[in-house]
């Protein structure tokens, strides 16, 4: 029920998003939206020594999509890119504490992970095409 979905922590991240904004001199910026509902997420990344040195997101959409994006940025900041590669749907749902979302809303929760993985593909495309493949069409996201 909604009382479980819209817990204090979700509303807190929705209303006070962490790491929200632009990133000057980002190594990669990527945008995607959910055509069904129009939720939008932009992610900007700065990478150093195969770690996510800095991450910011911009976006608008429902509490689930925006809180999930906010929590994802906290989850991956300062973490190695390998960790991002291995992140799966279940990790995100557990991270935000919403493992019972219906099919219509689960896309909201996963939009930011999808954008982050798209960002990794873009980052590796010029630098290491083989590594880029690891992020392409990642079945764990969809």
């Amino acid at each position: 029920m909604s009382d479980d979905i819209y817990r204090e922590i979700i509303l807190d991240h929705y209303r006070n998003p962490r790491n929200k904004g632009k990133l000057l001199e980002a190594d990669v910026s990527i945008h995607d939206s959910n055509p069904l509902c129009g939720d939008e997420i932009d992610i900007h990344l700065k990478v150093e020594e195969d770690k996510i040195k800095d991450i910011k997101f911009e976006g608008r959409g429902c509490a689930i999509s925006q809180a999930s994006a906010s929590m994802l940025t906290e989850m991956v900041l300062d973490k190695p890119l390998n960790l991002v590669r291995d992140l799966a749907k279940q990790d995100i749902l557990e991270n935000i504490g919403l493992t019972n979302l219906g099919p219509a809303r689960i896309k909201c929760a996963l939009l930011s992970l999808k954008v982050l993985k798209m960002g990794m593909v873009k980052y590796y495309a010029d630098r290491d095409p083989d590594a880029a493949k690891n992020f392409q069409n990642d079945p764990t996201v969809y």
Binding site: S2, C37, G38, D39, E40, C62, R105
Partner: protein, 416 residues
């Protein structure tokens, strides 16, 4: 309790709709407020489809056996009923398509490709559904024509001065407008728009997907040249759309889809096309769907379109007054019910429409949230999304009360 003021008894009428008996989300009675997306179907419509498949299923316009005769008769009767509903002069001015989108695309391909030239203006408005934007973008790109928009003001009304300026500029070739906005509910001043256009020798297409189901529409009175609408938004089945075209225009139009049924004679290198309207109905159509639409028209006709409009105004007035009492609610679109149909788009505080729809769903209330296939309008309103409640003949004031109750529950969940 507030008494219904409508001329038909809404509580009796609800008995005709099997789906209104079902429960959702456990034990909640269904409160269906997503009628601008699609409406529910009365038993008579469901039964007429079953009747066709059970008793006279056959292809139409072809075989001489009895079933084919019966199927052809039922299909053509439906065409006559639809013609009568919108007061078309001739049944052959009615073309059945898959949906209103296909009806507009038919005009864009068959009429637009032959009449729109480089540098011409195609005029639409900022309130259009994507179905009345994208076909014209495609045509404009192909022909190097311009797609021009009549703006909408902050109250949801069209900026007629934009329209007049576009007409004065000269090279407009087609006006294509929604009679009723699927987001704001705005009913546009159609007569004024058409008479201005005709004064300048420009034809007008009316996207009537939201108007034909809810109010009296008369193509002879408005004198529109093209009119498109959809069966499933007016109690009929999905998979059927209607395109009305004035006969003199239709006679000049080349066909849309080539194939069976639209031909008179086919030779190796050329074809003589069939008469109107069959020339535009290539391939076996959705026969069951068209027959179902005919039954839906009977149902609406029996209630009376003016009475339907009265009922929806009554419900909408009540809903708008109730919504206005809820704190932090923004209602989009005209306040004056004379210029508004039974569609209420709104936002409440910082609750995103998807979150609101999720919470409402738990109370059995079906509303729509999102951009409503009108992203140009969303950009104009500068919102990512809205929540939308849209009413029809079977909705009651008690349902509006449940809707308001759920809204207040959402406020609590969001600690507002």
């Amino acid at each position: 309790m507030v008494l219904q003021k409508s001329a038909f008894n809404v509580y009796d009428l609800r008995q005709d709709f099997p789906i209104l008996r079902r429960r959702v989300c456990g034990t909640k009675p269904l409160v269906y407020l997503d009628n601008a997306a699609t409406t529910q179907k009365p038993f008579s419509v469901i039964q007429s489809i079953q009747d066709y498949y059970s008793n006279f299923n056959a292809n139409i316009h072809r075989a001489v056996h009895q079933l084919a005769d019966e199927a052809t008769f039922a299909y053509e009767q439906a065409r006559k009923k639809v013609a009568k509903l919108i007061n078309a002069r001739f049944p052959e001015e009615i073309i059945f398509t898959r949906n209103a989108t296909e009806a507009i695309n038919l005009v864009s391909y068959a009429w637009g490709r032959n009449n729109v030239k480089e540098g011409d203006n195609i005029v639409i408005t900022e309130i259009e559904h994507h179905s009345n934007i994208v076909p014209w973008q495609m045509l404009a790109r192909e022909k190097k024509a311009n797609l021009c928009y009549i703006g909408v003001d902050d109250n949801g009304y069209l900026k007629i001065e934009d329209y007049e300026a576009l007409l004065e500029a000269g090279n407009s070739r087609l006006i294509s407008v929604s009679e009723m906005s699927n987001v704001l509910g705005t009913i546009i001043p159609l007569d004024e728009i058409i008479s201005h256009a005709h004064h300048n020798g420009i034809p007008v297409l009316v996207d009537a997907a939201q108007s034909v189901p809810h109010m009296s529409v008369d193509v002879q009175e408005s004198d529109c040249d093209f009119l498109a609408f959809s069966s499933h938004k007016m109690l009929g089945p999905t998979g059927v759309g209607v395109l009305y075209v004035k006969r003199e225009i239709l006679e000049e139009m080349p066909p849309f889809i080539g194939g069976g049924d639209m031909i008179r004679e086919v030779h190796k290198q050329e074809t003589i096309y069939n008469d109107l309207p069959y020339k535009f109905e290539g391939g076996t159509p959705n026969i069951a769907g068209v027959i179902g639409l005919g039954t839906a028209v009977d149902y609406l006709d029996n209630l009376g379109m003016d009475k339907i409009r009265d009922h929806e105004m009554d419900i909408t007035r009540y809903a708008m007054a109730s919504l206005a009492d809820v704190k932090d609610v923004t209602i989009y679109g005209p306040q004056d019910l004379q210029h508004r149909g039974g569609i209420l788009s709104f936002n409440i505080a910082d609750i995103h429409p998807h979150d609101l729809a999720t919470i409402m769903n738990e109370d059995g209330i079906a509303i729509r949230s999102g951009h409503h296939c009108a992203q140009v309008l969303m950009q104009r309103l500068d919102v990512a999304a809205t929540s939308r409640a849209s009413f029809y003949i079977y909705n009651t004031k008690e349902e509006v009360d449940l809707f308001i109750g759920a809204l207040n529950r959402a406020r609590k969940i969001f600690r507002i």
